[in-house]
């Protein structure tokens, strides 16, 4: 297992060139992809070109950035100019991005080596990476299980060392839940911390780019390089100018960590409860004070989320009409243009997208708007208030990331059950707070040790706080 810093050291010590390193990762991808299907597309030519540039800089004795020359992957919902960006949808199988997302641009400026685009649930809607038009991604711990989702491809690529690190997106837990299922670190920053420009939209008031890495320090290093205000995303927040990796002191003395009792219900699986409380003890040993707290509106979060997110999705996906992109339907004789749109969208969208677009259309339609969307936006305010009140008492909040370990492929067929996968993660998106999932151990299931994560919520824009807490935990255990 190599971290960004270790790989960087090897590069600057000339133990390995970036070209060799990139080749090594592509060899790994070649070896593992037939089992895992973590990638939708690879960009070998561009990757080697970037690696060559880094090697030239090194040869000239130039200083290189920490992430320069190191292979990484992007979820296939983030645009890379000149490359396919499908969002896991048949609707976009022929779409070539004509521009770089802001995060892509920033990574290219630092000469990161982007090896390819990873699989995901269609338009980031799902918790298993089973809803992709490009096949199911398998969990590298057990090929009969899902990796979580929607950023399942990125999680598996990192967990199986097909890349050193990856980007995903997190609208309701799509970075943290797969991180928990795959035994890696997943960071969802505060809403607005990273620009969403060039990231195909799911639910605009909840979407945030997330970082998936082997260690917390790696997540901090990547965040420093992609965070900040962007003119092209009006909802992006002011730049903090922070070098996040400098905040990893490994000291938690005097910090208070709240455990919300609503997250530790009687229904929670005993094995997960045990792992979780072992982790709480470890935080205590790190010097943190543990405080019992309440987030009383938690029970309303799931319904709130599944009103707001599909409503925004239905609006965002209205642009997919088969005119500018999409597959032209075989059928030739359309009565009118509406008939054409319906054919394109009926063919191009997968089952879960159709379901969510219709939920959104229903809740936004006249006569229902007040009862659903407006109501949910008000409850969203209550959920945010829960967090505001909690942060008067504590610095961070700690919970299990998921109520389960990775489940079997095909195990969740009805929608309401599958939506429950997000129960612990969605509150962070609704409240807009930053959250990180880090491994807290494994649970033996059918003879295989499956990973499970713990999740820290921080105050708005206090990424450095939760990064340091997670890092301290990692260093000590």
């Amino acid at each position: 297992m190599s971290t960004i810093k270790q790989l960087h050291k090897k590069l600057i010590n000339k133990d390995i060139t970036s070209l060799e390193l990139t080749q090594k990762y592509f060899d790994k991808i070649e070896e593992k992809e037939k089992d895992l299907n973590a990638f939708i597309s690879l960009s070998k030519k561009e990757a080697f070109k970037q690696a060559e540039k880094v090697d030239e800089n090194l040869k000239k004795g130039k200083e290189i950035d920490l992430i320069s020359g190191i292979p990484c992957a992007l979820k296939d919902i983030i645009c890379v100019k000149g490359g396919k960006t499908t969002a896991g949808s048949k609707m976009l199988e022929n779409y070539t991005a004509s521009y770089d997302a802001t995060v892509t641009k920033k990574l290219k400026e630092k000469n990161a080596v982007i090896v390819g685009k990873t699989n995901c649930d269609e338009f980031a809607c799902g918790s298993s990476t089973e809803n992709s038009a490009f096949g199911i991604t398998k969990n590298s711990y057990d090929l009969t299980r899902v990796p979580g989702g929607s950023s399942g491809g990125s999680a598996v690529a990192v967990a199986s060392s097909e890349v050193a690190w990856a980007l995903g997106t997190d609208t309701g837990g799509s970075v943290r839940q797969p991180a928990s299922f795959c035994g890696i670190v997943g960071l969802k920053p505060t809403y607005g911390r990273i620009s969403r420009y060039g990231v195909i939209a799911y639910a605009s008031s909840l979407d945030q780019v997330g970082i998936m890495t082997k260690t917390t320090e790696d997540a901090a290093i990547v965040l420093t390089r992609i965070a900040g205000r962007d003119e092209l995303d009006a909802t992006s927040a002011h730049s903090s100018g922070r070098v996040y990796e400098d905040y990893l002191t490994g000291d938690l003395k005097g910090k208070k960590i709240g455990i919300p009792r609503e997250y530790i219900s009687d229904n929670l699986d005993d094995a997960i409860k045990n792992r979780f409380f072992e982790a709480v003890d470890k935080y205590k040993k790190c010097g943190a004070e543990i405080v019992d707290i309440s987030l009383p509106n938690t029970e309303y979060a799931l319904a709130t989320y599944y009103i707001i997110a599909p409503a925004e999705l239905s609006s965002n996906l209205a642009r997919f009409d088969g005119v500018k992109y999409g597959t032209y339907p075989e059928k030739k004789d359309f009565k009118n243009i509406q008939d054409f749109y319906k054919e394109v969208r009926g063919e191009g969208f997968g089952a879960e997208i159709k379901r969510r677009v219709m939920i959104g259309t229903y809740t936004l339609s006249s006569g229902y708007y007040d009862a659903y969307y407006k109501k949910a936006q008000k409850v969203r305010g209550l959920i945010r208030k829960d967090f505001e009140e909690a942060y008067r008492k504590v610095d961070y909040i700690f919970t299990p990331t998921t109520p389960e370990t990775a489940f079997k492929i095909g195990a969740k067929s009805d929608p309401v059950t599958s939506y429950l996968s997000d129960i612990y993660t969605i509150t962070a998106n609704l409240a807009g707070v930053p959250a990180i999932s880090h491994p807290i151990g494994t649970i033996e299931t059918d003879g295989i040790d499956l990973p499970i994560g713990g999740q820290l919520f921080g105050e708005w824009f206090d990424e450095e706080g939760i990064l340091n807490a997670s890092h301290t935990f990692e260093k000590n255990f």
Binding site: S98, V357, Q377, G381
Partner: protein, 99 residues
Amino acid sequence: MTKKVSEEELKEVANLAQIKLTDKEVVQYSKDLGDILSYFDKLQEINTQDLCEIGHITGISNVYRKEDLAEEISREEKEMILSSVPKKNGRYIQVKNVL
């Protein structure tokens, strides 16, 4: 309370969403939407009469851009945009007549 979405209602929603469905899908989705909407009833437990709606969560407001000429896109970029268009006539995007 269990909500029911009739097949007729479902077809109307699909029509508004501009999605063509098969008969099998109509049956399946009217059941699914009923289940999901019933789950949403949970929110009726809370009195939200005096609460404000949340639009933007971190409270940013009035973000203005400088009134500047945007950078013109290059010929290469134009070609890329057009390369994704399913039906073209030369450099024009072809659509079914609207009227």
